[in-house]
């Protein structure tokens, strides 16, 4: 009896191997398209293009990796395109989490489902810091903000965007009701908004914040630019400012962004594993790591399994705020 089962298991296994072996022998094919969900020039564009050659190296060096911008629908178009490819590992995309999950969470028609995407691994992540203008800011530190009687003004991208949501969740948890000055097209635009005094403070990715740190030269001291007042982390602050962890808000440390690479749902396991292994090696390549550190975008590698788990966690975390998300998507003042 046991023998029979073993035989049949072996037979099924052999059949499975036979079925998958042509795919394995074929892969990697001549060309893999590394999609970019946004236009040329942004953070996703840069990191995808930088990563391409390393991925090629660890896929055996013969495959061509073509970086291709497919902007549209605030990132949705590329994800939709990826989801509809043949599941043969010919297309991969670096997703913007939680941004790409939003349509799924609020039940909007998206043409893809992040819960079904085959995840290959994480490349990078960023966490937030709250900044104000050193010369024009009304509030010197976070205590003043919390105690303030007047309304705090926050320049930010539109309702429903990642930065807006993180702000909404953060200030909600800290018991502050700010006024959002929406409409900035990117984080660098609203950072500029704070520098010139459009509003009081805002939320910024730590990496992109570093380029606004005050100049050391005296001549330019008139523009002291931005300074941090609160860091969203459970660890120690990089900038020596209070952290949300210290304020007892441990939950908030998930707020941020994760750049996770995925491929078309239903991709054969052999191909997926090969891609995931190569991706992990590429992201941990010392040269790539050194580059990330140099330009203030440190890598944060995660393997396929952990990345999949993370997507699940992010999904359930933000689902708690479903009403807030849906409302912010429709709400006008």
């Amino acid at each position: 009896m046991i023998g029979k089962i073993t035989t049949s298991v072996l037979a099924v296994g052999a059949a499975a191997m036979l079925a998958s072996s042509p795919a394995m022998a074929d892969y990697p094919r001549k060309k893999i398209t590394f999609l970019i969900a946004y236009g040329p020039g942004g953070g996703f564009d840069t990191i995808t293009r930088k990563l391409g050659p390393y991925l090629k190296k660890y896929l055996g060096g013969k495959v061509t990796i073509v970086a291709k911008n497919l902007p549209g629908g605030r990132g949705k178009k590329a994800a939709q395109f990826l989801a509809k490819r043949k599941a043969n590992g010919s297309h991969i995309l670096m997703f913007n989490m939680p941004g790409h999950a939003m349509p799924n969470i609020i039940g909007e028609k998206a043409g893809y489902d992040v819960r079904k995407i085959d995840w290959l691994g994480r490349v990078a992540q960023f966490r937030y810091v709250i900044v104000t203008s050193a010369s024009k800011g009304k509030y010197k530190n976070i205590q003043e903000v919390l105690k303030s009687k007047s309304q705090i003004k926050i320049p930010i991208t539109g309702p429903g965007t990642t930065g807006y949501l993180a702000s909404a969740i953060l200030w909600n948890a800290l018991g502050v009701q700010p006024k959002y000055i929406t409409g900035y097209k990117s984080s660098s635009r609203y950072a500029l908004g704070v520098i010139r005094g459009d509003g009081d403070l805002t939320i910024l990715a730590k990496g992109s914040f570093k380029k606004y740190i005050s100049s050391k030269k005296k001549k330019r001291a008139a523009f002291k630019d931005l300074k941090p007042i609160l860091e969203i982390t459970n660890g120690k602050s990089e900038f020596g400012v209070p952290t949300t962890g210290e304020m007892g808000q441990k939950d908030l440390s998930i707020l941020g962004g994760d750049r996770i690479v995925g491929t078309t749902p239903g991709t054969p396991k052999a191909i997926k594993d090969q891609l995931a292994t190569a991706l992990y090696k590429a992201v941990t390549d010392p040269e790539f790591v050194a580059w990330g550190n140099k330009v203030g975008r440190p890598v944060a590698p995660l393997n396929a399994k952990d990345a999949t788990k993370l997507v699940g966690e992010l999904f359930s975390y933000y689902t708690q705020y479903k009403d807030l998300l849906a409302a912010s998507n429709k709400k006008t003042r």
Binding site: G41, G73, Y212
Partner: protein
């Protein structure tokens, strides 16, 4: 600073560097000339090539590209009424009528020369303002953006001359087109009628390809013959006449360059607005022109062309001061810097001054180089206006549609180009100005967005618009530009009276 400049020149002085610059310049010219491609695409596509290069070499290559695109774009704008890149749209208004009159050579000569000089002036201004760069960028907050947009709309509407009413109507239609899609203040998607493509709004480049290139092909199909209606008298189309005309009209070129630098420095406004404002200002400065604007006045070529090349220097101001791109092209250029491990922003200026000046030198040399190439080739390119339209129509239409697709690899953009081809054709047919239409598409969303942002900042106090120096100044300019039509009519009457008296 001086040492860094010397280093920049030395960097560029080797044969290898010069080759890189020439290659970049050539790519820029070609990509500028083909509608839909443009500098952003060129820079993005060259990125993989730079992987093996030193940062300064990459900068030379990219600088070569960026300085040459609008020069290339001016050629197709003049010869085929097809703006190669969006800012060249303003060049079609007088450049193409010149080509129709058999003066394409002169127009190209003037456009290319104005481009080179504008480019050089833009770069010089960039270097000059480096110490006060940040202050300039910080001057513009939402109320100023609003006033700038209103000024732009009014100035351009009145420049439609004796088609003022029709100009206002097309401006309004343009504004409506600009309202389509995602609105950043509320994150609402408007006027999309359930079509996913419209969610992102109607993109400028495919719209312009339809509005200018394809509509003109339809128009040519109705007319037949060749673009140049004159039976070639080579003498009047001399390229050198064009070159000379720029020096003769040096003030036009200077004002245009000023506009380009200044508007280029304001992030998020861009070369198209600079070129159009420069054009309309020229129309207003010249109330009694020898040749009506829109009917082939050479100054109508010089003004926008000097502006859209000067903006390359200008748009580097916010890029260097804050690491915030002043245009789509500089956004990609910033990406290239990051790829090479250089963080843009203030630190770039402090730690890598040699690189900044390498870029400055590359931009200058490439602007001049591209112009020389165009001037040398102009003689042959002019032949395009002499061949039968039935060879031009199918080829230009197809290449323009491929260009519309290539921008975002989006087939819907081809449909957009097609729809705008109809709109454009009927505008030609019934003589409704396309100047106001185009600029309204660009400025409409800036107007609305900056108004709502101003209201959010000021807690709904309208006083925010008249309690700030620059916005009051811009408001005064707006009033002046509105008073202009009356002034223009008076001048015209006076000129007529003088002529009468002369007889």
């Amino acid at each position: 600073m001086f040492e860094a400049l010397i280093e920049g020149i030395i960097n560029l002085g080797t044969p290898h560097s010069l080759m890189l610059l020439a290659a970049g310049s050539a790519v820029g010219l070609l990509f500028g000339a083909i509608p839909g491609l443009g500098g952003t695409t060129a820079v993005a596509l060259l990125i993989p090539l730079t992987f093996g290069m030193e940062p300064w070499q990459a900068i030379i290559l990219m600088g070569g590209v960026m300085a040459a695109t609008s020069t290339g774009g001016s050629v197709s704008a003049i010869l085929l009424n097809t703006p190669g890149i969006a800012p060249n749209a303003a060049t079609t208004f007088d450049g193409y009528p010149l080509a129709q009159q058999g003066k394409a050579g002169m127009a190209i000569g003037a456009g290319a020369t104005a481009s080179a000089l504008g480019g050089v002036i833009g770069v010089i201004s960039l270097v000059a303002v480096i110490p006060i760069m940040k202050a300039i960028v910080l001057l513009f907050t939402p109320p100023e953006f609003f006033m700038l947009a209103i000024f732009g709309l009014c100035a351009i509407a009145v420049s439609s001359g004796d088609r003022l009413l029709q100009g206002l109507i097309t401006a309004i239609i343009g504004l409506m087109v600009g309202f389509v899609g995602y609105y950043d203040v509320t994150s609402t998607v408007r006027y999309d009628f359930g079509i996913p493509l419209l969610e992102d709004g109607i993109k400028l480049v495919p719209a312009l390809i339809g509005l200018f290139a394809i509509s003109e092909m339809i128009n040519l199909a109705m007319k037949g013959g060749s673009i140049s209606q004159e039976t070639a008298d080579v003498k009047i189309s001399r390229i050198s006449d064009g070159v000379k005309s720029v020096f003769k009209n040096w003030s036009t070129m200077l004002v245009g360059s000023g506009y380009g630098t200044f508007i280029g420095a304001v992030p998020g406004v861009g070369g198209t607005v600079a070129a159009f404002l420069s054009y309309s200002t020229q129309v207003q400065r010249d109330p009694a022109p020898d040749v009506e604007y829109g009917e082939g006045n050479i100054k109508g070529v010089i003004a926008p062309e000097s502006a859209n090349n000067a903006k390359d220097g200008g748009s580097l101001i916010p890029t260097l001061a804050f690491g915030i791109p002043g245009s789509a092209e500089t956004a990609v250029f910033l990406g290239v810097l990051v790829l090479h491990g250089i963080e843009p922003g203030q630190k770039l200026l402090e730690d890598h001054q040699d690189l900044v000046f390498t870029l400055v030198v590359a931009l200058t040399v490439s602007a001049v180089f591209a112009t020389l190439v165009v001037l040398i080739l102009a003689k042959y390119m002019v032949l395009l206006t002499k061949i039968s339209v039935h060879m031009l129509i199918p080829t230009v239409t197809v290449v323009a549609l491929v260009g519309a697709f290539a921008l975002n690899t989006e087939i819907g953009d081809v449909v957009i180009a097609f729809i705008f081809a109809f709109i454009g054709y009927f505008m030609i047919r019934f003589n409704y100005p396309r100047v106001t239409f185009t600029i309204a598409i660009v400025l409409g969303s800036i107007t609305e967005l900056s108004f709502h942002q101003s209201m959010l900042i000021s807690d709904d106090q309208l006083s925010i618009f008249y309690t700030r120096g620059i916005s009051v100044f811009l408001f005064a300019l707006t009033i002046l530009s509105l008073a202009f039509p009356t002034f223009r009519r008076k001048m015209k009457e006076r000129k007529l009276a003088k002529e009468e008296a002369g007889k």
